[in-house]
Every structure is written in C-alpha cells, then in structure tokens.
Symmetry: C2
Subunit: 238 residues, 2 copies
C-alpha cells in the first residue's frame, strides 16, 4: 500500500541521517582540524561534482516527458553554467557568472591555481567514481528518481551555512570572497528543494515508486559520503 504523502515525506527526510554533514571528515573540517592541503583537496574534488552537475541535470531533463518540469529544471543549468553571453563584440570573452565561476573563485580563495583544479590532476579516483555513478544513475533512471536523488538539497542549506561560519572562524587565511558560491546557493537551494520535494511527492504514487525514490536519495547520500571517504583516506596516506 502506498505511503501517505506525510509518511513518504518523513521517509525522505529520514535519509538525512546518512547526509555527509555527519562524515568524520566534515566534522573535523568544520571544527577547524583540516590542514590547508586537506581543505584544498576538498575544493578540487568537489569541483568535479560541480563540473558534472549540469550534465546530470540535463540527463534528468532528457528523461522527462513533461514540459512544465523541464522548464523548471532548466533553471538549474543556467544557475550553474551561467547564462548565454549577450551577442555582440564582447560575446564569449568574459565567463558568465554562475556556480562554476563562483567555484573557480573559491579555488583562488583557498590558494589553488584554478588550472590545477580544472585539469583534474588532483581528482581522486574514489571521488570521480562516486560522481560518475551519480550522473549514470540520472541518465539511466526515470526522471523522478533523478529528482529524488537531488533531495540531499533538503539537508544542504543548513550545512552550507554552518560551513561558511566554521571556515570564517577556523581558516581566516581563506579570502572571504571565495564564499560567493555558498552564499548565492543557500536561498536557491531552499526554493529548489521545496519544489523538488513536491514534485517527488506528486509523481511517486505507488509504494514501489516511493521506495525507489527513497532508495535514490539514500544512494545520493552514499555518493557524497564516498567522495569524503576518498578525500579523507588520501589525507591519511600523506
């Protein structure tokens, strides 16, 4: 029998117990115990996730036959990639503002040459495989399960808020200009996650679909957790 809307929502929220804010690496990072090298490793490995997000979101759209959902999901690509530069003599010369540009600013703020981030030379295989698994999941599953996997956004605004506060306190050597990504993203995530939760609640009507959506969100928590496992383990070996 299908879960009620409230039961289903509660089961989705319950996956927050697997969210990566509780990973030992994040706990230590927010407590001020990460070295500059570890912090930079977090930034460069998260870059790969950022760089793949638009392709992941396009895969969800590619699987979605509903124009009204596609229209709304499209905003995620513009947010991350920036919008198309205006035509004219300046077209294409400046990088449009967006999540990717903000993450490049974060890299500079923690003392990375952006090129050593974007060329993926420091990308750890475990982080790569986790991100690739997420993109592949969204390519190969129904769009509503891709949307359900995005519901880690239910848990991320508070985590991002805590991150900025902790980093400002514990890592004063980081240029605060680097926090634009998080500060821009927090209100957007709150709006996106509320829309996406309704979408998943509306479109998963039987128990099988509901269980698949809960599993998709659990899987996504595993993706994020595995990224931190890779980052933490690499730190142990140094």
């Amino acid at each position: 029998m299908a879960l009620t809307r409230d039961e289903f929502a509660a089961a989705l929220y319950a996956q927050g117990s697997r969210y990566w804010d509780k990973h030992p690496f994040h706990v230590r990072l927010h407590a001020g115990g990460a070295s500059p090298e570890e912090l930079r490793s977090w930034v460069v490995n998260r870059w790969y996730y950022q760089a793949c997000l638009s392709q992941k979101n396009a895969a969800i759209i590619a699987n979605c036959p509903l124009p009204e959902v596609r229209r709304r999901w499209l905003a995620r690509l513009s947010f991350q990639d920036g919008t198309q530069p205006a035509a004219g003599p300046q077209a294409g010369i400046t990088e449009p503002a967006g999540g990717l540009a903000d993450w490049l600013a974060l890299a500079a703020a923690v003392g990375l040459d952006p090129a050593e981030m974007t060329d993926l030379r420091h990308l750890l295989p475990g982080a790569r495989f986790a991100v690739d698994a997420y993109v592949t999941f969204c390519r190969t599953h129904d769009w509503v399960l891709g949307a359900a996997a995005a519901l880690t956004e239910l848990f991320s605004p508070d985590h991002m808020r805590d991150r900025v506060a902790a980093w400002r306190q514990h890592y004063p050597w980081i240029d605060p200009a680097g926090y634009a990504y998080f500060e821009t993203r927090i209100p957007v995530v709150r709006a996106d996650s509320s829309f996406t939760l309704d979408l998943v609640l509306d479109h998963c009507r039987n128990r099988l679909q509901q269980e698949a959506a809960i599993a998709a969100l659990a899987f996504k928590c595993d993706v994020l957790w595995a990224m931190l496992d890779a980052i933490e383990h690499a730190g142990c070996r140094r």
Copy 2:
C-alpha cells in the same frame, strides 16, 4: 587525412540531397495533392517529433562537458517548451508560448482536436520508431554527433518557407494562424544552423570524427524520410 574545413562543410551540405523536401509525400503535399486527412496525419505524426525535441536536445547537453556549448544549446529547450512561467498567483495556469504551443495552434488550424494529437492515438509506429531512433542516437553518441545530426537545419528554412507558401495557396481551408510555428522558427533556424555548423567544423578535427559527423547527418535525413514513408504508406492503405 582530415578534410579541410571547406571540404568538410561541403560534404555536410551534400547530405542535402537526402533531405526530406525531396520525398514524394512532401512533393505532393506542396503541390496541393494531399487530402485533409493526409495533412492532418502529417501534423499529428510530426507532433511526436516536436514533443521529443527537448528531450533530444537535453541528451546532447547531458553528453557535453563544455559549459559554453551547453549554455547556447539550452536556448533550444526554451524555444520549444517556452520559458518558465513567472511566479505568482497566475503561475502555471497559462501554457507558456513556445514551439509546442505553436504546434498545438497548427493542429487546431488543420481541424484537429489537440487532444487526439497529444495522446498519440494516431501516431504511426514507423514515425514513432524513427523519432525514437533519433533521441536514442543523441543519448548514446558524443554531443558533437548529436549536433551534427541537427544540421538538417541547414536545409529546413527554405523548405519551411516553401511549405507555408504552398499551404496558403493550395489549402485555403487551413487557418493561417496555424503557421506561427514556421514563421517564428525560420529566422531562429538560420541562426542556429550557422552556429551549429561552426561547432561541428570546429570540434571534428580528424577524418574519423568528420566521417562520423557526415554519417550522423545522413542518419538524421533517414529519420525524417522514414517518418514520411510511414505517413505515405498509411495513406495508401486507406
């Protein structure tokens, strides 16, 4: 050895000999020899192509690691699906203007109940399989080959212009309000095809890639041709 840029462009343009403007059904349609029933069959079967276009374009974006290409290709989704309704009490109530909405107007103009088009009851299997083959191609091939397949747009503006003129002349029973799709699309296609041609010429640098792009465009011509084969054959059986 790689073709020169001019040789490669010429080989792509040469695929125009396979473009569906030369299909016997289109020749007869433009000469005024199609029955209202055949014309309506063309409109409902083309609807499936229209309905799948945004998913096809999202699949190309999902395969594309270049933000500057994704940003530009995204405009195709907004053109077809319309843009997101403004938030507020009216949000979601009216269908945003766009290619899909214009095709619904075309359906009404040729005397179809839009519902009997959108529920696909008249969709011919041969047309469905051809369109599905196109979407699958774009899902499973490099983004630049998906872009190359879209280069039937090199040939479509003149064909659309001729279509509107021929239909106005031969089928005066069609409400001219139905031609908005073509009239809006013609200048957009000219700009899109010019951008896409440069993209394909820029990104296919060796002979293997060039040959694959030419084959992708030939395949796309076969997709369109097969749709008309299905429509024409169904007419013969009536």
